[in-house]
Symmetry: C2
Subunit: 204 residues, 2 copies
């Protein structure tokens, strides 16, 4: 097995979550020692997670309706240089080829701070460019492929409306080299009929 | 990508869970349409899941303390013929080689029935045999590697006490051929300091 890189934020009490989403909460369950079990209270979009089409598209695919091969993809890292609440233009993806396109904004370093909400986002033109390039999954190391500050939803609409999966809140993308090919794995829990899932995102 | 087999039970309301564990509960979150988000209430051992040493061993490793390569292993399927609450003897594993040993009892067909609680289980001798064989992970398509009916814990004690991971509640193992080598993947959520995790278990 080659080196496996962890691209996932820890799930823990006090972690960052999308404003208005269920607040992640972890509580020890009452058990007879030495047994230890824990209660997990999350949303489908807590931490590093996948969006299924049904997160935004009425009647769209639920997370258990995709073939597993959609979550195990050859992919590339695309570093971008946009700053606070700035749109990423389609030019950032010129010449990019890969079934998974993973956008490295560096915003994961602001996780648990207010600035994490003012991340760069995909312009509608960039989202359309990725659809036309035949990308299967778009990942980002930020809270949202759309602008959280502006409350817009163009990128979700364009990607999920065209059968492109989204992974948000990736972490540690600086471990991966731009231009190099990786196997990117982000398998969802088998959540029957639901709109997304927390994942353990890895690459090798 | 070769065929990827899903070895996971769906997570849904009304699913089977270990008596005394937190009851899995899935509830739609209040969102502005068309956005759809769902609240997940699970235990660390709900559905198809991994046990970390700290599930049973005081001071044992938590699920985030294992290298990721412990969850991505070459493995084999071992069919066994034991019936209701019968111990699996060490002879069942004679000559078995593989970092992951996945035990096929066929008990997943009783999921959601009372009989699911009266599954075959690992005898202490079989658990010791697997430790001595240098196995890294033991999986089973039943609720528990120990007897649920008798409430014993020998296999957990022996496996987790010797740095062997456990996956319980696997499903669909009839898709895999005995004697053939597979890549077995069961990545846990990145649950900081916790005792186990629901997983999407797959093989290819």
């Amino acid at each position: 097995m080659p080196t496996v890189y962890d691209l996932t934020h820890p799930l823990e009490n006090g972690m960052t979550f999308y404003p208005g989403d269920p607040e992640p909460r972890i509580v020890p369950a009452e058990m007879t020692p030495p047994w230890r079990v824990t209660e997990l209270h999350f949303g489908t979009h807590s931490g590093t997670h996948l969006d299924a089409a049904s997160h935004f598209v009425p009647g769209g695919k639920t997370i258990d309706q995709y073939p597993l091969t959609r979550f195990i993809l050859p992919g590339v890292i695309v570093p971008v240089t946009q700053g606070d609440d700035e749109p990423i233009p389609p030019q950032a993806f010129a010449g990019v080829a890969g079934e998974a396109v993973i956008i490295r904004t560096g915003w994961d370093r602001f996780w648990k701070t207010e600035r994490y909400l003012r991340h760069p986002f995909l312009s509608p033109e960039a989202a359309r460019y990725l659809v036309e390039a035949g990308v299967s999954l778009v990942g980002i190391d930020a809270l949202n492929v759309d602008s959280t500050a502006r409350g817009t939803s163009h990128a979700h609409e364009i990607l999920l409306g065209n059968d492109v999966l989204i992974v948000e809140n990736l972490a540690g993308l600086e471990q991966l080299a731009a231009g190099k090919a990786y196997r990117f794995v982000a398998l969802p829990l088998r959540l029957a009929g639901l709109d997304g899932s927390p994942v353990r995102a890895v690459a090798w």
